[in-house]
Assembly symmetry: D2
Homo-oligomer: 244 residues x 4
Amino acid sequence: MENVIKVTVWNEYLKEQQEPDVASIYPDGLHKAIAAFLNRDSGISAGVSIISDPEQGLSEAVLDATDVLVWWGHRYHGDVQDHLVQRVVDHVRRGMGIIFLHSAHESKPMKSLLGTSGYLGWREAGEKCRVWAAAPAHPIAQGIPGQFVIEHEEMYSEPFGVPEPDATVFISWFEGGNVFRSGLCYQREYGRIFYFQPGHETYPAYHQPVIQQVITNAVKWAKPVTRIALRNCPQMEALEKIGG
Amino acid sequence: MENVIKVTVWNEYLKEQQEPDVASIYPDGLHKAIAAFLNRDSGISAGVSIISDPEQGLSEAVLDATDVLVWWGHRYHGDVQDHLVQRVVDHVRRGMGIIFLHSAHESKPMKSLLGTSGYLGWREAGEKCRVWAAAPAHPIAQGIPGQFVIEHEEMYSEPFGVPEPDATVFISWFEGGNVFRSGLCYQREYGRIFYFQPGHETYPAYHQPVIQQVITNAVKWAKPVTRIALRNCPQMEALEKIGG
Amino acid sequence: MENVIKVTVWNEYLKEQQEPDVASIYPDGLHKAIAAFLNRDSGISAGVSIISDPEQGLSEAVLDATDVLVWWGHRYHGDVQDHLVQRVVDHVRRGMGIIFLHSAHESKPMKSLLGTSGYLGWREAGEKCRVWAAAPAHPIAQGIPGQFVIEHEEMYSEPFGVPEPDATVFISWFEGGNVFRSGLCYQREYGRIFYFQPGHETYPAYHQPVIQQVITNAVKWAKPVTRIALRNCPQMEALEKIGG
Amino acid sequence: MENVIKVTVWNEYLKEQQEPDVASIYPDGLHKAIAAFLNRDSGISAGVSIISDPEQGLSEAVLDATDVLVWWGHRYHGDVQDHLVQRVVDHVRRGMGIIFLHSAHESKPMKSLLGTSGYLGWREAGEKCRVWAAAPAHPIAQGIPGQFVIEHEEMYSEPFGVPEPDATVFISWFEGGNVFRSGLCYQREYGRIFYFQPGHETYPAYHQPVIQQVITNAVKWAKPVTRIALRNCPQMEALEKIGG
């Protein structure tokens, strides 16, 4: 059991997500749907946490017990408390993996880790999206076809206000004429970061097996190589004689 | 005059390009069309060179007098002699800029400089292409709209077998459902490299002002910061006492 | 005059910097010493701003009138107000260049823009430092020798907790046995970022011509390519018919 | 057994390496010393191949049966036949990992894969070298101390003529005053590449446990994620109606 990857799927899960149009797709919330498919992989143990939990679901106990945090948020980005954002960021810097889904591009943790605004264009027209694997050799693309279709998705468009990534794993084509780098990898000190675009709450993207596979792969890629304790800049003794 | 950027536009310009369907679009060859629009910029002085010139248009004299080489080739990649490829590569490593256009993705100099195969998917269907500026802050994207249309272009598709670039300047949307990273920057030692996808010989892409602007911008970006002579790995004296 | 680069050199300039050991080296403060050598370049117009100024020297008026901000801070990182940090970060994302000097590795703006902690090892032993140009073709290295000596500098050591940079311009050798990536470039949306290690307040690094040249070069490299207004994620109309 | 990583250690192993000063350190050649310590890891099965073997030790059969190729060469770089270099490069592009040791910086396969000259400064003075882990979170740095000493090594110095790496894992300090990026990662299509500086033939670097650990880690990092067959650019059918 010691190699099982411990995942926490964080979600706002406030009233909009509990209303009929979303609840008909994700009756128990997106977080539980995501945790459920992750738990079908014997190498993963996924739990959930939501913004109305104590410490907004981001206690030290929760994060200490999390190898990879999956983040879904949209309308309540601004409500996540700054000291909790800083706590998440610190855990990533010290090794916890993090996967940002869909509208998390504007979440405080993603903006804090990437240093950018997450700017993009958008359109909610239920249009067709084709996701292309631009880096087929990347671990996150294994078992994923060269191209797959999401029948209805919110459109996100370039230019995407993020740093040039370490790896451009997926690029999406949208029926209405737009393109978007939809799967991107970053490293921030000890922590690995993956952004993945699909998952508007009114469409069933997280029920689609190929998308489940991408997120499962991403969890495995983002698990900590090693994890370190809090640290301050150390004063170091000289190794060689100075002023000899 | 000393700050004028000296450009050489290299082209195969063999019989296919002189036949009616191409010649009707580029009566004097693609190279002369490209040189002509570059020469409208007072900061650029562009000449041409073709595969049937002495030393295949790639003599030391030509390259020494070139700040930025623009490369268009397609059917005769294999005919470019290896020692001339090496000469081009050496000039880039020592500071000469190079711009690879369209099917130059499989040219020997591009493969030698990037280390990859230039693998991609393709389709010749005269379809619509939308080019998106993914890096609107990049010098090559200045004055270029967020998105522009090429009415008819050969389709190139991801996955594109190139290294993760230093900058992803453009990404293209194709009518038939594909995407492609169509404007990419690299650095190899002292030389700057830009790959730009548009320009199949049977369509008039190089007559389109926005494409002319991209290539003009790219020439200015790729001009040498500094240029060095041939060099071998130097033996260096110790700066500090060893074994003290 | 319109092409002159407007620089603001920001400094804490609180009591420690006004005490004899620092004041003997920088009688008017490090900020004024830096601005003075920048102003010797006819292409640069440099002013100063300090933490005790209104809005901590970071008013919208100051930043709007700044092409490149140079940041020196050490003991008072924590005192810079968060909304002003956010203002600086927003200006960088929208095109303002920024140069972080020495202990700015732990400043709030640098950590916010890079997403990392700025972790490093240090030693204050007045030891010799040799700065090597690892990217001699980079604009910031022009006119700088392959290696130069700083006779006495605070030591900073790897591992340096920053993202893999876009360019590793300088790497430093320290007498006591350490190495440090001492000149690093990043881009965050429209803004360019340069970190440069030399400049502990009790040593005269900023009086050394080669260091003045590096910072002058960095200002020219970091000046905005273009600068944009505040922006939110735009809703975009479809360019192609959806659901045809 | 099916998960065992198959390694081939390639070496020139010509007369210089069989002479007393080298043979006293590596009696059976560097290749056999390297294979021997790799074989102590139960997850690795390492064989050897040398330039005097049929097809210079680089037959299709050898490469097909190799997950990760380790390359040591120095005086006979020029003797490796170009079609065999191309074969190695093709295998890397299709997924085989490759580790370049020491003077392999100027080998034909490394120059072909990186696109650069491998330029560097050097000095053979048997000086002390300190290797710093600049990316302690990288898989190749696991179990390696923050800094370790090689008592006697050939000096290699910046500037190092290679592309900006995907990861700067190690940076070395040399007693004589130089620095060098001594452990660098790259990806070329499906293949992973690691360059590691230690290993001059007249010093016992490959007998040092920490260096054995780095190379063992590197083999595990470089093993193929997936491996593909030879491929040409495919013509692709349209997925969407064109000219609708």
